[in-house]
């Protein structure tokens, strides 16, 4: 068995997050709080991909991602696809979608933003410029590119 076969080998019940922008899997694992998941989580980094060159992949045994969670993934990996697995079969497969607003998850990168000083929920609106996604903070009104977002509320 090659390492790649190992990674894509079937799980019984759970979720496979595929086509993750290379380098983003570890952030997604944090955002989805997968280290606290009591069952097996398998991560593949920099796997060769025909469409993307390189991609990351996450398999989560025994957990079906909710649509909200899938949207959180979209923020980090807009190309990702979600496969829901039941009894070794893909029962649902869909592309993630960027939500119009993002509540709580994103930490505002502006060090002078009030949200970094009060116990409060952040809120960003999502603006698309072609393939570029920008987030606008409701409070400090600054606009950020995805790359500038470094921290997530877990």
């Amino acid at each position: 068995m090659t390492p790649q076969e190992l990674l894509v080998s079937a799980i019984k019940d759970g979720t496979v997050i595929d086509h993750i922008t290379a380098g983003r899997a570890l952030k997604i694992i944090r955002v989805l709080r997968l280290p606290d998941h009591k069952k097996v989580v398998t991560v593949g980094l920099n796997l060769p991909s025909r469409a993307m060159g390189h991609k990351d992949l996450i398999k989560v045994e025994g957990r079906e991602l909710t649509p909200e969670e899938a949207n959180e993934v979209a923020l980090l990996a807009p190309e990702a696809s979600i496969n829901i697995i039941k009894n070794y079969k893909v029962t649902k497969k869909f592309k993630v979608q960027i939500p119009q607003t993002i509540e709580r998850v994103v930490v505002c990168p502006n060090p002078k933003c009030i949200t970094n000083f009060e116990r409060m929920t952040t809120l960003f609106s999502v603006k698309r410029y072609g393939t570029v996604i920008k987030l606008s903070c409701k409070y400090c009104e600054k606009i950020f590119e995805q790359e500038e977002i470094k921290d997530y509320n877990l």
Partner: protein, 305 residues
């Protein structure tokens, strides 16, 4: 029907053109005819989490000239913020005492956060580098009263256009009025990309310049700003540009007769004192207009207009 009653005044971006014109109309009316009893019985909460004597006095005087009273603080050290109280809690309490709150805070987005805590309207008197809408209204009022219109004017922004909060807000407001905008600044302090994007979206004609003198004969309004030494990592860089945009009376030969010079104040040396005596100087009247604009905002959010 425009309604301002109970509305928070947080960001100039939230105002339509009609709303902006309405605020200016009310402010001009109050300038012509004072209304010393209009807000009799009302209380302003004046909350300055960051000191700013000029802005605070302007808000407090506005309330008193309309017959209202003022409570508040001018210095964050006297509040329980020092003891770790959240802004949310502080405002929640003060909003039980006051009918309207004017606030300044060093953090960006603080006024919007305060508005979530308060059932009374919040007027943002500056939240960090973010917004200061009453300043923009007074800039617009000064432009309107000196030019008799807001549409189709040529305006030069000069100095620190990158960090200047008043510049950004006024630039955003001008997108409603088909202005021709000249951005005059050292390259490293030029107008940020997101403002230029807004110009493009609103089909505002603009151009970027590093020299001031060739622009002077072209404009109706010259909006001067201060270049702050602390913006420069390298003091030598600051030395290079600090005198590049010093306006003197001698430079004003050949300007349009209707030219007016605005400045959000305080000035350092970018407008020489000999400019004050020219017919083009308008920065002191501009500061006075802050009073009428703030009176208008109080009257509007308290449902009097």
């Amino acid at each position: 029907m425009l309604t301002f009653k109970n509305r928070d005044i947080l960001s100039i971006k939230e105002f339509t053109k009609e709303e902006i014109l309405h605020v200016l109309k009310v402010a001009s009316a109050l300038k012509k005819k004072p209304q010393p009893k209009l807000l009799d019985g009302y209380v302003l909460g004046s909350c300055f989490f960051e000191p700013s004597t000029r802005t605070r006095l302007s808000f407090e005087t506005a309330m008193q000239r309309l017959g209202g009273k003022v409570i508040g603080f001018a210095d964050p050290n006297v509040t329980s913020t020092k003891k770790g109280e959240t802004l949310y809690d502080s405002i929640k309490i003060i909003s039980q005492y006051a009918d309207v709150i004017a606030m300044r805070h060093p953090l960006e987005g603080a006024a919007r956060r305060a508005a979530e805590a308060s059932e009374k309207p919040i007027i943002n008197g500056g939240d960090g580098a973010n917004q200061h809408p009453s300043q923009t209204f007074l800039d617009l009022l000064s432009i309107q009263e000196t030019q008799k219109k807001l549409e189709n004017l040529s305006i030069a922004f000069v100095g620190d256009l990158k960090y200047g909060r008043t510049v950004h807000s006024l630039a955003q407001a001008l997108c409603h009025f088909n202005s021709r905008v000249y951005c005059v600044a050292p390259e490293m302090l030029q107008m940020p990309e997101y403002i230029l994007d807004e110009f493009k979206l609103s089909r505002i004609k603009f151009s970027l310049h590093s020299e001031l003198e060739p622009i002077l004969p072209k404009v109706d309004i010259l909006y001067m700003t201060r270049i702050q030494a602390e913006r420069f990592g390298d003091p030598a860089e600051y030395e290079k540009v600090k005198n590049a945009y010093v306006l003197t009376a001698a430079m004003l030969k050949g300007v349009k007769s209707n030219l007016k010079i605005l400045h959000p104040l305080p000035r350092v040396n970018e407008v020489a004192p000999d400019v004050d005596a020219t017919p083009y100087a308008y920065y002191f009247q501009e500061a006075e207009n802050g009073l009428y604009v703030r009176e208008a905002l109080f009257g509007l959010v308290l449902g009097k207009f």
